[in-house]
Structures are given as C-alpha cells and as structure tokens.
Symmetry: C2
Subunit: 723 residues, 2 copies
Amino acid sequence: MTELKPIAHTSPLHEFLAPESIAIIGASADPTKRGYKAMVGLIKGNYAGKIYPINPKVPEILGVPTFASLDDIPGPVALALICTPASTLPKLLADCGTKGVKGAVILASGFRETGPEGAKLEQEVLNAARAGGVRIIGPNTSGMFNLHKQVNLLALANVKPGDIGFISQSGNMLLALVLEAEHNGHVGFSTYVGPGNQTDIGFNDYLRYLGEDEHTRVATLYVEGFRDGQRFLEVAREITPLKPVVVYKSGATEMGKKAASSHTGALAGSYAMTVDLLRQVGVSVVRHSDQILPVAEGLALMQKARGKRIAVIADGGGQATITSDRLSDAGLELATLSEATQHRLSEILFAQASLANPIDVAGTSDADPEILARCMQIVAEDDNVDAIFLVGMFGGYHTRFAESLLGGEMRAAEAMIELARSTAKPLVIYSLYVPVKPPALRRLHEAGLPVYASIEHAVRVLQALAERGLYLQQQHGRPLHAAVTPSDEMLAMFARASNEGRDLYEYEARSLLRTHGVTVEPERIAATADELGEIAAGFGERPVAMKVVSKDILHKSDAGGVKLNLIGESALRAGYDQIMSACHRYDPNADIRGVLVTPMAKKGTEIIIGVVRDPIFGPVLMFGLGGIFVEILEDVAFRAIPLSREDARGMVEQIKGRKILAGVRGDPAVDTEALVDLLLKVSGIVAAYPQLSELDLNPVIAYPEGYSVVDARIIINRAIMNA
Amino acid sequence: MTELKPIAHTSPLHEFLAPESIAIIGASADPTKRGYKAMVGLIKGNYAGKIYPINPKVPEILGVPTFASLDDIPGPVALALICTPASTLPKLLADCGTKGVKGAVILASGFRETGPEGAKLEQEVLNAARAGGVRIIGPNTSGMFNLHKQVNLLALANVKPGDIGFISQSGNMLLALVLEAEHNGHVGFSTYVGPGNQTDIGFNDYLRYLGEDEHTRVATLYVEGFRDGQRFLEVAREITPLKPVVVYKSGATEMGKKAASSHTGALAGSYAMTVDLLRQVGVSVVRHSDQILPVAEGLALMQKARGKRIAVIADGGGQATITSDRLSDAGLELATLSEATQHRLSEILFAQASLANPIDVAGTSDADPEILARCMQIVAEDDNVDAIFLVGMFGGYHTRFAESLLGGEMRAAEAMIELARSTAKPLVIYSLYVPVKPPALRRLHEAGLPVYASIEHAVRVLQALAERGLYLQQQHGRPLHAAVTPSDEMLAMFARASNEGRDLYEYEARSLLRTHGVTVEPERIAATADELGEIAAGFGERPVAMKVVSKDILHKSDAGGVKLNLIGESALRAGYDQIMSACHRYDPNADIRGVLVTPMAKKGTEIIIGVVRDPIFGPVLMFGLGGIFVEILEDVAFRAIPLSREDARGMVEQIKGRKILAGVRGDPAVDTEALVDLLLKVSGIVAAYPQLSELDLNPVIAYPEGYSVVDARIIINRAIMNA
C-alpha cells in the first residue's frame, strides 16, 4: 500500500470537519441525550482541541466547564454541534455567524421533510447561516466523526480509524459498515458525515473534502438522492483520478416513472441513467449493499488492475469452475497464459494439474502450500495477466491436512506479502477458511492484504480494480468534446420559435444540425400544393417522405400527417391532400404551415439519439437502437454532456444491441465511427445552445457507411428563452 | 420448525449410506493416509456399528483388530471404503460381491478422467460391481458421511450434525459450507456424498435417498454435470413436494456453445435451459455460491411463503429503501397493507412513522424494541401479507441506545419466536448486529430462527420461500399433458422418410401437426408447373407463399427457394420458374420434388416454438418471440416434456418479450391461451413419437385470436428409426 500524497485543500469543509474547537449547543448532563453522548465521544476519543459545552443551567458536564452562550466563549469556535429543537435554529445560526463559527452540525429534524412549514423554517435557517458565513451539515443528520482528529460526535464505540471516508444518508448503513469492518474487515474509517437534508452542503462538497483529505484513501457514499448531480459529476471527474470513489445509489426501483414528452425523456431519470453517468466520471458503482465494504476495502488496499485479464489459481476444480462463471458474469476474462508461464507452472505442479487458466493445482499444494505462492509469482510475471486471484483453502492446510503444514502456510503468506509489494498487479485472495481466522490469513490481514470469504465478493472487487485501471487509462485526461460556436442565424431561429410560443419545426431542427456539421438529407417545404410540382421535379425518381409542418401536431404519424414512398408530382399532390384532410380531422384548430418533403432513407439499422436536461444531472445524451430495443427492452446508454470520444464509443459498446450494429445474419457492420461522430456533434450543439431543452433524433438510420437522420425534434427551453 | 414425517424407503442407498457395518479396505496405520483417517473419524464419532479394517500386514489399527481380507470377516458388511489404487479395483469389487457388500466408496482416481485406458478400467469396475450386486460411490470421490449414524469417512472435525443433506462434486464446497455453518450458520449436516465420476450412482439416486432420509430436511446439491438429467427431473418432481431441494449448477458460462442444425438446437443445452428445467420441477436454483447455505438454511428452518407479498419492518429509512430495491430485483412485491393493519400500526408508532409498506418505525423502537415484535405480529395477521421481513438494528439496541433496553430486546426475541410458532408465514430477519452476535440474536438462533447478516442474502431466502410456496400451490399435482395416440399413417410417414434417408418434408410435418389438432393453414403440393393452374384457382385472390420441396435444401430462403405474396396463376408460374432455377444454381444435385403452396399468414407477432432431445435432459420444449428476441437476446423459455398447462403458461409469462404479447403501442394482446394450447399439443406429439428428434415451428404467427404455423420443420431420430 503506497503512501497517500498530500493534496492541496480547496474545500472550505476542512476548517470544521477537522476542527480545532467545538461548541456543543444543547450540551446535556442527561446520559441519554445526544448533547451528553457527543461530549463522551470527544473526551473518550482524546479530542485534542477545545470543547465548549453550552448550557446555562449547569456549571460543568463531565468535568468540562460550560458556557451560557456562544458569546461567552473566549476563543474562536470552528464547529458547533447543535442539539436543540428545530424552532431554535434560525436564532442560533445567527449567533454562530456573529461568533465566526465555520460550520454547524444540526441534528434536529422537523424541516422540509415535514411539509411547507418545515421547508420555510429550513429556508430561514439557511438564510441565517449564509448571512453569517456559517456552513451547515444537515439538518436531520445523524452527525459526523473525523477519527484522525479524534472528533466523534456520534459517540460510536469501537470504530477503527482508517482509510475509508464515508458519507451516508442512512445511519444504519454506517453502523452496518462499522460493525462489519470491526469483525470481518480489513479497514477503518477516516471521516463520516450524515448529509441529512443537504440544505447547504451537498454530496459534491463532501466528495471534494474527502478527495482532498490526506487520511482518506477511498471516498465512499451511500446516496438516496443527489441535489446537484451535475456538480457532483464535475467534482467526481476531478477526484477519481486521485483516489477511488465508491457510490451505492438506492431507490433503484422507484425512479423513471415520470411522464415525458419524448422517448429520451421517458427513459432519462432512471437508476440506469444515474449508474451510467457515475461510471462515466470514474465512480465505482456498487449495486448490492453487502458489497460496499468489500469494494471500498479492495480499492483502499490493493493496486488497480491494468485490465480485465485475470489469472485464477485454485486448489479445487469445483471452485475454479465457479470462479470462471462469476468472472464471466462480471465482464472479466480468464487471462491466456503464455507458453513460458505454462511451462514454468508445469515444472512445479503435478502432471494432472490444469495449466490453462483457471489453474487447478490438483493436489500439488496439499503437502506444500508454498506452491500456491510460487504459482502466484509465476503468473504475476506474465504480461498477459492483469490481476491474480487465489481461490480455495489457503490458511486451512494445517487443519485440513497436517499440522506440520503451518510453517509452509506462514512462509507462503510472507511470499504473497512480498509479491504484493513488488508487483504492480493486484493479488485478490478468497479462502473458505476466513470464518476460522487461521494464522496465515491473520498474517495477510496484518500486512494489509485483504482475504475475502465469498468468491462473489472477491470477483466484485476484481471488477472494481479492473474498471478503475481501465478508466484511468482510457478515460482520464481525454478531452471533452467542445461546444460549437452558436450561429447568429440559429440563435435568431430559437428566438423566433420562442416568440411564437412553439418548439422548433422539424426543418429548423434539421437546419440546426446541418449548420453544425451533422449530415442531414436535404428537405423542401411546401406551404401550398402549388409548390409541389417544382419540388417533385427536384427529387425526380427518388421516393420521398412527406410530413405535416405544424406546431400543434406533436405525433405526426398518429395524426395521419406522414406519407412515405411518394414518387412524382401526382403522388405528392395526392399525399398532400390526404395529409391536410387527415390533420384537419385530427385537430381542426391546428395551425398547419404546409409539408416537409425529404428523400426516403435507404434501409438500414434504426438508431435513436436523444438529449434531455435532467433536473439533477443537467444535459444528458442517450443512445440506443430503435424499435423494441428502446421501447420494450430500454436497452440504452446515457452519458453526461460534454463527453469525450471514449465516452461516445462506450455508449455504442455498452448496449446489448451492439451485436446488431456489428452485423447479424450476414449483414455488414454499421459505421459505428460515424455514429460516434454524430454523438459528439450532438454533444457540441447541446453544450452551445442552452435554448435547446430536449432533442430526439428518432430514428437515425445507420449504414455500413455513414448514417441518415430521418426525424429530428427539438423542444426549446422556455425558462431560458423567457429570461 | 415442524417434525419431519417418516417417508417410506424405496432407495437401495439407505442400506449402505446408513450402514450397520463398515469394512475399510486399505486400512492403514500411517496417520497421513485416508485408510487411517477414516478409522479415526469412525472411532471419534462413536460409530455404533462394526468396523472391519482390512490390512494383512498389521494385527490392529487404533486398537481395532484387522482382517487379511473381506473373506475373513465373520459377519455381514454393508459398506466398504476402498482406499487402494485404481488397478486393484476390479478384483476388489468382485470380492465385495462375493461377500455381499451392499455399497463401496471408491476414493481412487485414475479412471475416465485420465483417458481411454482409465475409462476401460472404470467399465471393468462397474461390470464387476454389477455382477456382484454392489453399488458404487465414486470412484474419484472425496468420500461420505452420515452424521446421524456417526459415520464420518472424511474424518472432518467439527461438523455439526443437522438437517442439510449435501451432495457435492466439489470437496472444497463442502468444506466451505461446513465452516460457514459452524461459524456463522444456523444448521448442521445429515449426509454428505461426493459423487465423483458417478459411474454407478448418480445425482438422481442421491436425491431420492436424501428425499427419503428422515434426518434430511433440505436436499442440497452442487452439480458440475448431471449424467441422467431426465431421470433427475423425474425424481425431483417426486421429492420437491416432500422437502425443499436446492441446486447450485456450475459451468454457467461454458455450455451452449455447440453447433446445431436449428435455432432451438443452438439455444438448448445452455445454463439457462438447465435452470428452467430444474425450476419446472420445484428445485430452488441458487446462482451465487455464497447463497447456497443461506438458502438451504432458510428452507430448512422457515415456513414456505404463500406468495410474493412481503411486509417490511425497518428501523431506518435507508435500509427500508435498499430492501425495496432488492425485493423488486428478486421479483417479490411489497404487500399492500390493509387499512385495518395501518390503523393498528398507527396506534403504536410515532406520527412520523411510515405506515405504508416498507414500514419505517422512525424512532418508535429506539426506546422500546418490543415495538418491532408488535409490528411483526400486526402485519402477520394481514391477509395481504405472505411473509414478514424485519430489517435493521435488532439485537443491538442495548449497545446502540441504552443498556437498559436489553430486557426489551430479549422479550421481543421471545415474542418473535412465539410468532414464528403460531403463524404460517415466514419471519425473515436481517440485523446489522449479526457480526457482534448479541444476546437477542443468540436467543433467536437457539430457537431456530435464522438471522441474516446481509439484506441481499435475506431477500434471496424470501425469494426461495415464496417460489417454493407458489410452486406447491400452482404446479404440484397439476396433470402433465398426455402423449397423443400415434396414428398409423403418421408412423408410416416417419418410416418412409427414414427409408429414404431424409427428414420430414414440410408438408409431412404440417400433416403430423394437423393430425394431432394443431391449426395449420392448408397447403398444396405442385410437383410440376402444370399443376399450378388448378392450385391458383383454389386459392383465388388470396396471396400465397411458395416454397421448394427438397430433402437436400435445408435453408430454403438462402437457396432462393421461397417466394411470397403471389396471386394468380401467372404469378405462381413465374415464382415456380424462379425457384427452380435459383435452387438448381444453389445445388445442381438437389433432389427437388416440386413446391409447396400455402396462403400467406396475416400480419401478427412472430413466435418460435422448438423441440430438441437434449442428451442430458431428454425432450425439451422451447418458446420465444421470433427475430432478434431469439437471435440476439436469446430470450426464450424451456420446459421438459411432458409439461403441465401451468408449465406452458409459465413459459409465456417468463420471457422478457411478454410485453409484446400483451400488446404494445395500442396493438391488441395476442391470444396467449391459444399459444399455451399449441405448446401442450406439441408436447403431446413429441411424447408420442420417439421418431421425432427436433422440431422447429419458426415462425408461428400469433394473433389476437388464434395463431398460424407458417413454417414447420421436423428432424427424425435416425438412431431410433434404424433400431
């Protein structure tokens, strides 16, 4: 484990999350009260700063002299823990401001979560805090600790100091992790904060603090809801290259149920979108709550993996098979061992051993457990291997086979520790003897090598190490696609649409795309049937599509406002008449401006590209195949805008339908680089025009060479346009 | 936990898996040898039967007099443990037969797994055993134990006797479960067997034994490969109504890679198929190795659930949310609590508590943990609730809040134990204090109420309890669809095809289906173009499809052998000519018998129905949507033939594409009952004609009313036809 490098502090949170002095407002002599327990936590924890209990009624608490008010405290106060009820808060925050308190931890509930009255009170508290320059943790927080400063306002006993910083909207989850770490874990904790209502300080602020904190090796967050997700993504983009960030996001099944005016809108806001965006900025997203600690531990204690190629060394065939299954589920690969490696293994293993990965030592180690360490050394030197995974009975050989093997086990443990120090590849160990805590596993534990009790958890850790390694190689530092320069003409077009109280007409949307380099088939607009003759002549024998132009008709096909495969003037005229009468029947009051005529796209693969401005995460791009892939399977990828070329490639590679893009039943592959370009161009346009609220290119037809945008719809952002 | 009822013994395995006398062939005085360790296991375990060590060189081992050979033993021998090398086995098995030994445990390896020589030796051993009426465990087995008979041939220390019977192709997996049960579990073990090469006794035999064993409450199996999967399904169908059967099947990622001549063939043999078939007969299939013990425990200790509606009681909002997410992932539901239940809860919980499921007590229990037990009692009485799930800090209240709460926690534990006894609904408990093993959790443990350390594991247990409850209600006892009575005409048709060395022509396949009640559009065969006039007249203005009839052209479309949407004689003649010349170009030697003409199917939803005879599991039916659903997404369901109507319904409900069957974008739902009928008819036909090897109905078009079989292909079973 390497030393953590100091990182410059830019977050204001350091001043009060690592405070030199603490006032406890509502300090109490009643042992059941938080205002007493926090005092116990500080005193028992040997807090070295000043403790100022505020209580006008008693002269001292636990031997510490009290003060009647903040005013009476002689020196500066960095942090105030406020244990009094909600109604007292506005006044107290004003007092804090006067005193120059930097941060306040507000335990009280009874704010936004209780209704409009509470929300009003919460706003008053925030106003008072802002006026006095006081930052707020909470309200409605479970509290905080910083064990490296001996600050333990939760008065939790037996919390091991260590490397894991934890921000959790669930107090139970903190307790669960603390107990798991104490009894079965390999790590301790640095700073914990319960963000509560996030009235002032949000996850992005806490993440920056943990990112800069020299005692935190892994920032771990349990999140029920982000308040400023876009800012969180920006901060995570800065922090993840410095240290691992682990997020468990709950509420996976309750989101994405809102009504929306576009396909993209309907799918955005989902748990799947949140996961995609977090992964885009290098966050390790954990989906099972019992994997939070193992993953955080693994990232804290082990090297990242260069890639996904895992060498498995097992002392039982069954567990080797299980491991292969689980690695494949996790998107990892069994490394193809070099011939040299297999030869070296053959020199130390029995003839019946399996030298192809997964390596099954087939009894060779039964009488000599050091063989396992030697196998690990050999595969660690193979360039085809990114990580080493030992699976089986290690630690239990002396109980399973013969007491005399204990020496060999201890020597093997030392060799593994030495290997972990000397190689850049992670060594992940699963042992079925973990519940017994035998000497060799205790030795590994002391040396900071985690040993997992479940193959599944160990594989999840390998996945996190590989994803982190690949992210840092592939994503970090890649330039984000720049916004295009807005054109005056296009700005005027947006303004015109806004003035007319409508969204963009399709021909305007096509014009915007074309202006900024997107390939769009030419179109002609016919305001009246009389113009169709010339238009028909222009397209000649090429079949065209005709679509109604009306701000009032959103679902053109449903209204009978679309005709396909028309050739020649008479067909165009007939189509025009049919469209006009159908749309008139559909909505007699619709303002119909004519029809758009454009060449039919050739047959190809239907794609959907969409953009929404998510209320939490800001502008988000969506990519998927059309039809049932988007409608039934919701097989789409999301990325926050702006995105890098690697991000765009990742979208194309992520969807299940990628097999179709690669060509099925002898079809040629589609031009995915052209789609990547299109995604980046859309990103650049969205970044340049805040006037654009939602965009749907549905469908885009992808070809072996290039693509064709068949329908484009752009919703404008009235809030911005009217500002 | 109810008493296990005695079950009549029909398995011959009882005689030697619960043996009255044991001979140890190759008993040894060397403490490192299995022939010594087994003696230690028997003596230390207080085995009450006779022990006969066979060793001509020493007079006694561990104080037990030895015998020079089996012959010298005075009394009968039920079981022989054979510790000698592979080459000695044929002779020894003959000796066992002479002595009347019932079963032999063969440890030696060096058989089939080493190549043809070993396979030959294995066959010799089997022949000798069969000749003498000796059954074989192994060879290449890790051994066996029956702790209720004090038989421990593995000499494993510290294995708790208990309710879990375990058959495992991985010795490491046994060790892992034993250690996990000892340190963190709630159960012990009855009988263990390592089936080794399954030369004689296979998983189906062991399952019947465990099913009948009065000391086994749950039969648990780790399976790398079944040898007779069809028989296993039959036995499981009998056993699962009596007791739970848990299977972990490994090799999930290595199967299903074989070449195949049909879509069904390509998808059959997969892990997904194995899972479907096991679930069809009521087996609980576990996919994560670390969930084997929790699921087996849960099924051993708790009642099955009537259904999927779970009431969650949580003392923290975050974990309540996590639980909701995980329940939804597992296909379980949050029960809708009755108004009466919510009212009763409101009387004991704080105003800020959430009374809608998940119930968040919101601090009510902080000073009175008995509240949790009272909430459990209240929801247990709600008819809308099938299972109760307590989530949070229970057991740790006295450490988290105040020592004085210990009494309340113990009273709550007693109330939960009482509730578990009096209700028919399972109580599943997750506590974050499990690692601490506090008094209240120890009390629950003693009373046989498991407490889980992970929300994910607890949810997996709830899922197993619900699936078992639903299986017993919905599936068990439902009649399997009977085989049709084979028609002489159809039998003659199969014989004719076989004689001609070909599979069925499509018109023959259609005829078979039609004969047995499947709705198939009429078809006409034209051997020459001259017949097309009359045929065209017969179909009138109805568009028809024309397909080449040739045993040599498997992929008719690829060969240009299909023409669609033909109307009238001239179109038919043109189509005929095109087909003939295209097919002739495609394969100049093809034996072309003419064309099949049949009405075009109306537009509808494409379905694929297929049958294969799997080498392991026998006849298997497959159902899915056509096109990308089967080709790209492999979104299909499998059931073993014969199947019940419930099984057929389950296939339709299981696939992801069911949303399409239910109607999307305003389309009407398809007639799923007609599809269910079709599946059952196909099952009946396949069961009646062993001559049928593979069947593909691809596509079947499903309509809001009825269906249309558009293409039918039947491969015949040459092995049977030639027999």
